[in-house]
């Protein structure tokens, strides 16, 4: 069992020697981001457990090394859940890693992403000090939003010790609809769904089919389904789990690089990329297995108001995250330097 003291000591030693650390939770997202050039690992898994959970306050505070599986179980016992359905690539996936990577799953497009859910953090900062920001209440604007800044920072700004997250009641039931849809009409159909007012909690296009998960009370959902004569899919839970955790066949073609494009949801599908595509988040996220040159994919996503990530697979000379505009990059460098002046936390992991 590691204690805060031990973690702090390891960081202090790194500071003294100016020797960078690679922070690791369950190691399930080691592939995500640039490799960190060090053998000096800081492992969080021993620092785990629920610190505070008050269902009627709609928050939970957990230590970084707690596994997502355990956390979700604790919440489920009180009929509550996190809103973002982050991927569990390995059962060891920790909440610290989830928040640091900032990768949200199917539900997040409808109920809120990881950064939307972060209420507060306790971290060890670049000076080895323990500092807390945000808190356990939903509304808090005292000082800059340091807690959301930690979400998606891939461990480059400090060590998350604890995080407080918003939780919500679990819906009584969820059902999955299956709507046939030619590839060319996927975006149009997503647009219609967005305007339908349906209680959607996840959506996915794959293989000429749109899967839509709806959430609510049983009677109400059944009535909806009857009224619209929709076809339901009885393997819904398994299907969404396979999308969430990338165990679906689509993610395991193996031989081509997997790209994740995050774009303006209603933007058209790029004809040159559409051979092997899966679409999530009502059109906002498009996964592509493709050998198309990286610059074409990256530019295509940028033109649609977003970005592309080389998610799996290596391409020589291509980094996971494309370089942002110079002004944005400059702010990243300034922040990194100001918050981690000795450069000990996961240097180079993002840019």
């Amino acid at each position: 069992m590691s204690t805060v003291k031990q973690l702090q000591q390891q960081i202090q030693t790194a500071l003294d020697k100016k020797s960078p650390l690679f922070i690791q939770g369950g190691g399930s997202k080691a592939f995500y981001g640039n490799p960190v050039d060090t053998n000096n690992r800081l492992i969080t898994t021993d620092y785990n457990g629920i610190v505070d959970y008050q269902p009627s306050e709609l928050f939970v505070t957990v230590k970084a090394g707690t596994t997502l599986i355990e956390l979700e179980q604790v919440l489920a016992e009180k009929q509550q859940q996190l809103t973002f359905e982050a991927p569990i690539f390995k059962k060891e996936t920790t909440i610290g890693g989830v928040v640091s990577a900032g990768l949200s799953g199917p539900r997040s497009a409808y109920a809120g992403s990881i950064r939307d859910s972060v209420l507060g953090v306790k971290i060890i900062n670049g000076h080895g000090e323990i500092v807390s920001f945000g808190g356990q209440v939903m509304k808090n604007v005292a000082g800059y939003d340091m807690s959301r800044l930690m979400a998606g920072s891939l461990g480059t700004l400090g060590l998350i010790l604890e995080v407080s997250l918003k939780v919500l009641p679990k819906p009584e039931v969820e059902m999955t609809l299956m709507l046939p849809c030619p590839h060319e009409e996927a975006i149009e159909n997503f647009n219609e769904l967005r305007q339908s007012g349906l209680p959607i909690s996840a959506s996915c296009y794959i293989d000429s089919e749109i899967f839509v998960r709806i959430a609510g009370q049983k009677d109400h959902l059944n009535a909806l389904i009857r009224r619209h004569r929709w076809k339901t899919y009885d393997q819904g839970d398994r299907f969404w789990e396979s999308i969430r955790n990338h165990t679906h066949l689509f993610f395991n073609h193996g031989n081509m690089p997997l790209w994740r494009l995050s774009v303006s949801p209603a933007s058209a599908i790029n004809g040159r990329l559409n051979t092997d595509t899966m679409i999530e988040w009502g059109g906002g996220v498009r996964w592509v297995n493709s050998n198309t040159p990286a610059n074409i994919i990256v530019t295509s996503a940028q033109k649609k108001g977003g970005h592309a990530i080389l998610f799996r697979g290596a391409i020589p000379g291509v980094r996971t995250f494309p370089t942002p505009d110079p002004e944005v990059l400059k702010i990243h460098q300034n922040l990194k330097y100001k918050l981690d002046p000795k450069g000990i936390f996961n240097p180079g992991r993002i840019y």
Binding site: S56, G102, F133, Y144, A151, G152, V328
Partner: protein
């Protein structure tokens, strides 16, 4: 004496040089320098703090803003951005050595995109105008501060404004996609994107609530939401404030997330009733105003569940609005509550702490005790569902020392909120007003971390300087005074 003079002369020279450059850039209507023209800008919604700037600039284009920032950056002139000036924490209070940059003329809605459910707007657009423009598409912009007919979306982003519907729909930070800024060098910086997530640091979150200290917001892409098919508004009255407070936790605990859940105490109820005739029961000690939305079927089920809960919690009466007119009337009382309370005394001072919901009863009690101690009345009207309190302290600024007393009372309330596990500000921001309370909520290491953020964006500290984040020196001084006599703040010590 001689030194003072040369200081004064240097200042005059500097101001003259600044105005010379600004005149080259702006027309007469875009640059105000006469005292009587500056007066309207001497304060924001917190009128107890007043200062005059050197000049007020009201540019028409983003390019002008870039050039203004450029000039000021070269000359180290403080720039205080100003939206509609409805802020309640002195965030837009002028700097006496600097200029006010008003965004009022950047007031266009550039685009409404019904397919992506977004709108692209300039910062000076009024909050309510966005929902009006989105209405034909069945969409609306969710964060709705009570000041929504006046406040600007740029100001909303700068404060991370909330509203009566943020329990369900989130704060400003949850409802925007992209912000374009003019940074401290006068360069354009775009943070966030049109996509639903981003890579790298969450700069959008940092900018939201940054109170004009990290950049000048010149364009915003907001998310729009689908109008709910049906709405239900329920008013519950209670003979005991405690019962109303406990009902709040019970409702959320039961898995109901209302679109809005507001609470008012006896003084606020009476004031609102006199002012707006909303039909609130005058003899109640507290009321809860609860809005549910969703599909018809869902509403019916949830409303029943809610009414049962309210009864269990000891509601003395429950009323469901039967028409949209009646709904509007019930809300009218709440929305007019601030001005209504404003009629009870010459002045009022609005606080903004947030606490965990289960602490509402306890903290309201304590506020009552403090009210007796300071001999100043308080009305409470607030976002109960979020635990976001708005105690309105009534006082008379014309009475010697009363504002100081109100401030001391306010500071005690904020400390109470921090001690209860909450925060000194839920939505109004720190500004000039709560800068001392920051020392109470944060350690030196935490405050240093905030300064580090500021320096990463604005190394020369020209954007809204000396607000929001206290210097460590200031906190140390405060700490010592606490030890000495427990009386704060001393009038002879400058606040900022």
């Amino acid at each position: 004496m001689f030194d003072d003079d040369s200081d004064e002369q240097r200042k005059l020279k500097r101001n003259a040089e600044l105005l010379f450059h600004l005149r080259g850039l702006l027309s007469d209507t875009e640059l105000l320098t006469e005292i009587e023209d500056l007066r309207p800008y001497e304060c924001d919604g917190l009128s107890a703090y007043k200062k005059l700037p050197i000049a007020v600039v009201i540019p028409t284009t983003v390019e002008q803003i870039q050039q203004i920032v450029n000039i000021c950056s070269r000359m180290f002139i403080p720039i205080v951005a100003r939206g509609a000036g409805t802020g309640l924490s002195g965030g837009a209070l002028p700097h006496e050595m600097g200029i006010i940059l008003s965004l009022a003329r950047l007031n266009k809605i550039l685009d409404v995109d019904p397919l992506n459910q977004t709108a692209t707007v300039q910062p000076g657009v009024r909050n309510i105008s966005i929902s009006e423009a989105a209405k034909p598409y069945g969409l609306f912009y969710a964060p709705d501060p009570s000041s929504q007919i006046a406040c600007s979306i740029g100001g909303n982003v700068a404060e991370n404004a909330g509203g009566v519907h943020c329990l369900k729909y989130g704060l400003t930070v949850h409802n925007i996609l992209q912000v374009t800024l003019v940074n401290a060098d006068g360069e354009l910086l775009t943070v966030g994107s049109l996509a639903l997530d981003n890579i790298g640091y969450d700069l959008l979150a940092l900018i939201t609530g940054s109170e004009g200290m990290l950049g000048i917001i010149v364009e915003i892409v907001v998310k729009l939401k689908q109008k709910p098919p049906a709405i239900n508004v329920i008013l519950a009255a209670f003979n005991k404030t405690e019962d109303a407070a406990n009902a709040v936790s019970k409702i959320i605990g039961a898995g109901i997330i209302p679109a809005g859940l507001e609470m008012m105490d006896a003084l606020a109820i009476q004031a609102a009733e006199d002012f707006a005739q909303a039909g609130y029961p005058r003899d109640a000690q507290a009321i809860l105003l609860c809005e549910l939305d969703g599909s018809e079927e869902r509403l019916e089920f949830e409303s029943q569940q809610l009414c049962d809960l309210l009864n269990q919690c000891g509601a003395s009466s429950i009323r469901e609005a039967s028409s949209s007119e009646e709904q509007a009337k019930l809300w009218a009382g709440r929305k007019a509550a601030f001005p209504a309370v404003g009629r009870l005394a010459p002045d009022y001072y609005c606080m903004d702490g947030t606490i965990p919901r289960h602490q509402i009863a306890h903290v309201l009690n304590k506020i009552g005790e403090l009210s007796d101690y300071f001999d100043l009345k308080v009305a409470n009207v607030f976002h109960a569902g979020d635990g976001n309190l708005h105690p309105l302290i009534l006082y008379d600024a014309n009475q010697e020392g009363e504002f100081l007393k109100a401030e001391q009372f306010g500071e005690k309330i904020l400390q109470l909120c921090v001690d209860a596990g909450g925060t000194i500000t839920g939505e109004h921001g720190v500004g000039s007003e709560k800068i001392d309370s920051m020392c109470y909520q944060f350690s030196d290491a935490e405050i240093s971390q905030f300064h580090a953020i500021k320096e990463a964006f604005d190394p020369n500290l020209i954007l809204n300087p000396e607000k929001t984040i206290p210097t460590l020196h200031r906190c140390a001084e405060l700490g010592q005074m606490h030890v000495h006599d427990g009386q704060l703040p001393h009038p002879e010590i400058p606040r900022f």
